[in-house]
Symmetry: C2
Subunit: 215 residues, 2 copies
């Protein structure tokens, strides 16, 4: 089974690595890292780089697509090459999935039309502009299209994918192998749970970072 | 503030990227990816590679060290160069931290002598052979030495580190930015919680993988 994680300039590392660490344990599975170009692909802050071993078009029909997010996903929303590859991949895929703002790329490709979908909480409303119905579920499952919320949610999404592909025992074994027994020191991981003033700070910081990249 | 994440052949991606995604949001912080050699460093299964932008010795005295684990950490336990760099870094660090079997490297360097420490659950007993007191806490804090349990625990550890460095509001803001509101589909993330037969399967698979790499 081929799993493609398509990379692009300014993707978010954990969006890609969370699901990777889960899915790479599956038997008879090959994960491919593909980029707009082959070679190192810089993450959101240009502080870390993952190596793409080929370009998106090298695998037109993967069984599973896992699209990470990051500020860079905005540029893909009007990139005909990126939209074309994703549409073609989705047409033949067993599962088309995204983490965080990776769902904006799916939305712009028309893949989320009429579906419930999620994204980073700060971008949920953007999904509605592209014909999706935003939901604040952590993992939104609509047939073969599965979208996950912000950054860290890809781990939860991928465990659900393992359950769908190989059953609950396989998912539990994977969870145990990566010792995923989360104990965050605070209960502030969603805008419903975090103090209102912290939500506003994060909203402002993220908006200014995105603006800085745009200009 | 300089944070070094030392890479090595056959490290575990999520061990490194979990803390990175948390710590890279801090103000006035530079994360450095350093390897035994500069260039792409292959992960545990040689399926993914992160780029090291220099060698360990380029930064002898980082404020914070975050040591990832992976099957490759075994080789570092008898590597005088690796042990020497880590001892020197620890002597001057503000915090010396590890995720998963990264603690074996710390233990072999003598950094865990007489301290409570943790690791991936499958390697806890190994710590005792190197003078540490194993604990199954997810994050074990002993002054400036902080060790975390298996793979995914580095996210929890790093959030605690943000709290220590910048206070609880900063940690909550970071948690919200990465939407860390974990909702694993099962409660099987530790050997105490997973069904006994699944613990045995994972133990057998991991032992055979390690054996395969050894021979």
């Amino acid at each position: 089974m081929q799993i493609v994680i398509p990379l692009f300039d300014r993707f978010t590392m954990l969006d890609a690595i969370g699901p990777y660490q889960v899915l790479n344990t599956l038997p008879d599975t090959e994960v491919r890292w593909l980029g707009a170009e082959a070679g190192p692909v810089q993450d959101e802050s240009h502080t870390a780089a993952l190596v793409a071993d080929g370009v998106w078009e090298d695998v037109p029909h993967p069984e599973i697509v896992v699209v990470p997010g990051g500020y860079g996903s905005r540029a893909l929303m009007t990139d005909e090459r990126a939209l074309g590859w994703l549409r073609e991949a989705h047409e033949h895929s067993r599962y088309t999935t995204s983490v965080c703002t990776g769902s904006l790329w799916l939305a712009a490709a028309g893949i989320l039309d009429g579906l419930e979908a999620t994204s980073h909480w700060i971008e949920l409303e953007t999904l509605a502009q592209y014909g999706a119905t935003p939901t604040s579920q952590r993992v939104a499952e609509q047939g073969k299209v599965i979208t996950a919320a912000g950054v860290s949610s890809g781990i939860d999404m991928a465990l659900r994918l393992v359950e769908l592909l190989h059953g609950p025992e396989a998912a539990q074994a994977t969870q145990l192998a990566i010792e995923y027994d989360p104990q965050p020191p605070f209960d502030a991981g969603s805008p419903d749970k975090a103090p209102a003033e912290i939500v506003e700070v994060v909203r402002a910081v993220m908006a200014s970072q995105q603006e800085a990249l745009r200009t």
